[in-house]
Symmetry: C5
Subunit: 354 residues, 5 copies
């Protein structure tokens, strides 16, 4: 629940750009890695002190600084000062509740994205915010915590596979965003499995819990949509951007991510539609099962009530009841009762009530 309506540190009245981590301060160390490359050379290092990165700022090679952990305002601030980032950019990097967005500054482009992953433990889809600073010679990526998301890109840079080593920072940014969006496709797969399970359950044995699962899945889909939908706008704005930081040749790649984003949004839309249909089936099949039960029970009762009435009649203690004296009175009554019962059953069968 708490996931859907998250708290935001109330920074009411504080000047903009005040850096306060959204989560309580974690002890974890911030991990910084740096890769510097061009077509010919490549240099990779694990950075101990953030200041080690600064000399790379104006080198004509492409420098990619990846920062795992955004809970330390000092590091963010140092980077901000050295790479002359706007205070609001720094604030947005630390505010992990931000919607995906793109902001164009004179010297850099600032992009906020959501990384989605399936938390196996809690069987829930979680998001992590990823911020990208794309400058002339450098890309800085911020992740909420350490992860192996970008390893394949590192590998591609190292081995020089594809065209990544020949292209600029915009292509690197594209590659990072592409990796994030490709990751989204894992989610519908997980959802698809869940939905199939639900559907089977619906047919075999609908339970009140099924309803809860449907509702939760629906909620997750809304949450997903919220995280992915704005990306559409980000990408389409990025394509139409007239910034010297984005080269003509990169545009088609951005268009490609855009297409993938639309595709995932479509899938989410379809899943929502299917869940709505399931809700209808659920409600209808629950009430159907109930009706089935009630009908049969009511019919049983209905058959026996007139019979009991007949028995009641001959249980009366009137002095003058000739039937009681008859020798065959009892068997006749029994047969009559049987007759009534059978004819009622036949009647109900004819009426298709049974």
């Amino acid at each position: 629940m708490r996931k859907f309506i998250r708290r935001r540190v109330t920074k009411v009245g504080l000047p903009p750009g005040t850096l306060i981590p959204l989560e309580e301060k974690r002890a974890e160390k911030v991990k910084v890695t740096l890769i510097d490359y061009n077509e010919a050379t490549i240099q990779e290092r694990k950075v101990e002190r953030i200041e080690e990165c600064f000399p790379f700022k104006d080198k004509p090679t492409v420098t990619w600084i990846n920062i795992d952990g955004i809970h330390n305002p000092e590091i963010i601030e140092k980077i901000g000062n050295y790479f002359s980032l706007h205070p609001l950019t720094l604030e947005d990097i630390m505010d992990t509740e931000h919607r995906p967005k793109i902001e164009v500054f004179e010297d850099y482009i600032f992009i906020v994205l959501k990384m989605l992953y399936h938390d196996e433990k809690e069987d829930e889809i979680k998001t992590e915010q990823i911020s990208l600073i794309v400058g002339q010679n450098f890309v800085i990526s911020f992740q909420e915590r350490e992860g192996d998301l970008f390893n394949p890109i590192r590998e591609r840079i190292r081995t020089g596979r594809g065209r990544i080593r020949k292209m600029g920072t915009d292509y690197l940014a594209y590659a990072l965003m592409d990796t994030i969006v490709d990751n989204y496709f894992i989610i519908p797969e997980k959802l698809g499995e869940k939905v199939e399970l639900i559907e089977k359950e619906l047919l075999d044995n609908p339970k009140p819990q099924t309803l809860k699962v449907i509702q939760n899945s629906k909620r997750e889909l809304i949450f997903l949509q919220k995280s992915i939908w704005p990306l559409r706008e980000v990408l389409s704005r990025m394509e139409r951007l007239e910034s010297s930081l984005i080269h003509e040749s990169t545009l088609i790649y951005l268009r490609d991510i855009y297409d993938h984003t639309i595709q995932i949004i479509d899938t989410i839309e379809t899943s929502r539609n299917m869940l709505s249909g399931m809700l209808d089936i659920y409600i209808s099949s629950i009430s159907n099962k109930m009706n089935q039960v009630m009908k049969v029970l009511t019919i049983i009762a209905t058959i026996f009530i007139p019979l009991t009435f007949v028995a009641g009649i001959y249980g009366m203690n009137f002095k003058y009841m000739v039937e009681l004296e008859w020798k065959w009175g009892y068997p006749i009554v029994l047969l009559t009762m049987l007759g009534i019962g059978i004819s009622m059953v036949i009647y109900f069968k004819n009426k298709r009530w049974l």
Copy 2:
């Protein structure tokens, strides 16, 4: 189910343009045919090795290369290299989950469409992706598997019927797209039959299965809409395109396909509306039938319970119950009971409960 949320090979981190077929590699041979024509001459051949097509690239005649089967990355790659297609175009040709789209490159236009057909065996609507590359002198069409979809066009080219032999590659592309869209009209016909069957069933004998059929049909319609809707945009973009590859005189033909697409979208919309109405009727008629049953049964029970009570009274063993001694006690009670019963029936009839 699986049809609606399909898997996409997770190519996370791979460089763009990496060609991996979406389905497992099939042994089937890729079938390539080539027709080369202008107003005067025509040449048709079955191509064994893809390289045979290359000399036609720069011939001023219109060359149509049709490729049935896209599961072989090598062939796709060879074509891509020779006709200088962008790597992302090749990737999209092989990614059969793509939404219909149009992409304009300097030398060619790339169009992705969905072909729809009714699979008789599984009684389901299926899609197949068709990609078109429209160049100055050549059109390349890719189909997922072999089919006779384009045979009438081949026939028209051979016989020179209509204006196809006199026009350029854009008209050929139009003809191919028109054939695909004309095929869409088979679907509503199939759906119409199904819907009529459902409607009849609804009135005669609504069953829980009917609900499932309604829901499935609804789902199929959503699926159809997803496949056709983006085509609208594709066609309207194509019309407004300022590319030397599309001649002025072809625009009206594109407008014509556009109109047909709108028409089919309209039909789908109408069908969805009708299915929603049926869902309402279904739910209401199921509950109505149930109510009918319950009402009659309850009324039977209600009539007999007071009568049984009367019988119960005269079944009591009190010593001093004068009625029991009366000669006509028994018949009087019987008649009283009959009276009560009849007057209750009359009362219920008056109240229109029966």
Copy 3:
């Protein structure tokens, strides 16, 4: 039903402009009438052979050719050839399933409209397609079958009432379209009556059939909306058209039809809303009536069951039951039962259950 999802002759693969009538070939003769007029003169004739019309094409007077019946491809083709209409225009004239649309060609404007009329026999709203070709000196109108729709216009031309004789072909086209749209206003009147009937029935005696009528009316409204909605676009495009065929002074008249179209769309919208409300009332009043019945019946049963229990007690055959020996036992028990019954009724009344 069949009305809502109509078949379209599958012309898959045929070259565009192939003329095939949508309905099976009818024997009926195509009826052609011609009126040629300007402010001073007027000439009217019934045309036997379509070729008689051709000399009027280039006369500076306004010529109105009306064609009742579009099932004869030859006539359509002849007209098409002589008045140099585009093959697709001819195809659209014969395809009676077309959405209302406007298409501007160099020499003429092509307009497709739907005429609506209430079929008294089948108590259904039906459509007929009307196509207009507006040229410099001629207007050609195509109707699906013979009708008296345009008689008032003919009368106006004959008598010279209004300004029609002083204006050009665009005004004639306007007059024809205005007549069609004015005719639409009959439909909501018919619908209004139906809806009033339904509403009365809903309050007096809701029946399952009422639901069907509501659903059918809803469906008819959707169908109407489909037929009229695109007209809005047609008219607004027509107004903004920069064609020498539409004179400045006619624009305000087009705006007037536009307003009427909006008005009728509004009425349809309102009717749909009202029908939705009725569906709610229907469902609620059906279930309300049902509940009412069940409640009363259950209460009757509930009152008698405890009483029957009491009777059952004194029907037991224990040897030592002193009450049975009491002289006043029986009347006391009867009174007790009466007391229980009355107090239960009072209790239920107090709880407002009865």
Copy 4:
């Protein structure tokens, strides 16, 4: 009902501008008043013959002619001729079913508005159409029937309060429109009271009638929205109008009416939302109350049925039933029954069913 789908005299085929009153001809006299003013002078008169107004047309002072009653085509026609209004304008003035709209002609602006008032007698919201002709030196206002709506404006002109005497015809038109829109605010007040009453009733004692009231209020809101919504567009078009008839300084006043219109639309929207919520509460509380009743009754029946069974056992006439001979048999059975009854009640209480 009839109010929502109104008839329109079918003028099918008549030339545009034919003046036919929508209501049957009323005997009532048309009342015309005239005020002519500038900053310095003011002249007011009741006009007997419409021709008295004509000399004011070209006077540089502002002349306001107010006409109560539009059922007399002759007067409308005379005004139309003298002030050179377009025939369609005259037709629209008499067609009281028109949507609010603005039409700009060379010499004048034509505005159609809806006046709303609460008819105390029928407890219904009614509309009256008000048309305004705004020329260079004159404003002509048409009302459906006599009313005191514009009296405050007359008063302001007479006393010279505010800036009205210093401004032109556009400001006068603004003042009239403002008065009309200010009047709209009475409606939500009335509705608010109604809604509060409904809400109270819903909680105290939901009745089927409540549903009807909710549905009617909903319908009235839809009707209101239809009348007010297009005004939004009218005003925003008026603001953007580049006509010499609207002075720059009046624009801000138009913006002000626009804001008020949005505000009233917002209120209507909110009311609709609240009524929808009430419908949900109604349905749920009706079914809740019903369930409550059924549950208690069923529980009573359920408790007594097993007890009656026990009584039935000892009512059997077997010869060898030792319990019947026991001295304490009867009291033991009675106590057992009491025990069963009490334990069932306790069980139901524990299960929270009672």
Copy 5:
């Protein structure tokens, strides 16, 4: 309730700019404070007579006049005259029912906003209108009543923290608006708590009251949305404003508030979706619980009715019923009954009805 459809003093016919407070005149004194600052100096004072503020109007320093209480038309009018505000601006300041809006005049920008706060006493979200006048050298802010909302800003100005002292009136206006929007984030937190409570209740023990709480929360959300939604438009218009009053460097800050506004709108949207889901769960779980009860009770009744019938048979008084004479008759019947009962329970269990 009354909160949602508020009254507006019917100023029908009054000239625009007539100042009437919306609430009845309160005795409370209007509190005015003034801060005048630039980078170097700062002057703060509590103003007794409004005239004290006037000398600051043309001082080049930034002057912020804050007015708590808008119920005194005289003060508003004096300010209006001296700072040459448009009469409509003054009217809007006093009309506390206004939608958020921005209005650009030649000398100043006029902004209306809603402040939201959670009233602890009534456990309700309330709004207060805040109006801002942003001139070249001055900002005037109007609040409905005294509050400490802007204290942090005052503090920042006093201490010179952040860049506020170095920037102009536009930045001050931004800071005020930012404070208001930051305050909005308290609301979803409160709502989140409420929603969690509701959800828990839904699972543990759904009560009719829960429905009311859900509906009320829904209503509050609609109300919130109404208050915040137009702010989106205000901010986006402000960003695109080409006024000399807004400096280029402030734009990014406005974009930042815009982002926050979107974020809060998103949260509200999500909450609405969740509440809708809860309504579904509520209805379904209520009816589920009900069904559970009914089913068990009906089963009990169904089991005993046939048994009672058997007992009834042997309660009949026929002379010749051999079973009655048998020694083991009674125990056999008892065992038979037990058998019937047990086999019915087993049957119901098998059918999963129990």
